[in-house]
Amino acid sequence: MKKIQILGTGCPKCKKLAEATEQAANDLGIEFEMEKVTEVKEIMKFGVMITPALVVDGEVKIAGKVPSVDEIKKLIA
């Protein structure tokens, strides 16, 4: 099972990234669990300085952007 984490304090961009990632994972039929990390101190432990960010199995795939669903599919596949 993939562990997907969305890093962000909860602004509209963070929510949009979470929704798009969920859709991408569902489209791919991936078994996953999603966690939203909203505490800045926890976000900084990933080395991320810009949000929103997408983390897959502990690796930060993208930060500061909300990619399209198709782009997210490539990042989480």
Binding site: C11, K13, C14, K41, M44, G47, M49, A53, E59, G64
Partner: protein, 135 residues
């Protein structure tokens, strides 16, 4: 990331300095600190790029503007960026500005302010941003 600020709003400028073991290396560090404190950009850890910390690399990739400051033509910061596949940045080399590299950490205020003005121009296209005169 400031504790009380969301960083989703865009327009993010990141600053990476070689922070090396010479006067010019430490000038890059001092200038990067001051630019951060002045709100011009965020001072990032170049070591995080060298260590391939995924969050650091992704943060630089996601920045709108990136400024890399090297102290000398050895170009450690530039090489670190390029080895991580990061090639979109504005670039300043302190020795190119007429400052000689020596192993002396007593930094000249004039040198720091000169490099600061060049870096501001590199980021903003002007030196109109007010910055603190002391560290």
């Amino acid at each position: 990331m400031k504790e009380d600020k969301c960083c989703c709003s865009g327009g993010v400028t990141t600053i990476l300095a070689c922070s090396g073991g010479s006067n010019v290396g430490q000038i890059t560090n001092e200038v990067a600190k001051r630019l951060d404190m002045a709100g011009v950009g965020k001072f990032f850890c170049l070591a995080g790029i060298g260590g391939r910390v995924s969050g650091m690399v992704a943060s630089v990739e996601g920045s709108d503007t990136v400024l890399v400051i090297d102290g000398c033509p050895v170009a450690c910061a530039k090489k670190t960026m390029e080895s991580a596949g990061l090639d979109k940045y504005r670039y300043v080399v302190v020795t190119d500005l007429g400052i000689e590299k020596v192993h002396d950490f007593r930094l000249s205020k004039e040198d720091v302010e000169h490099v600061m003005s060049i870096c501001l121009a590199a980021v903003k296209g002007s030196s109109a941003v007010e910055v603190p005169s002391e560290a």
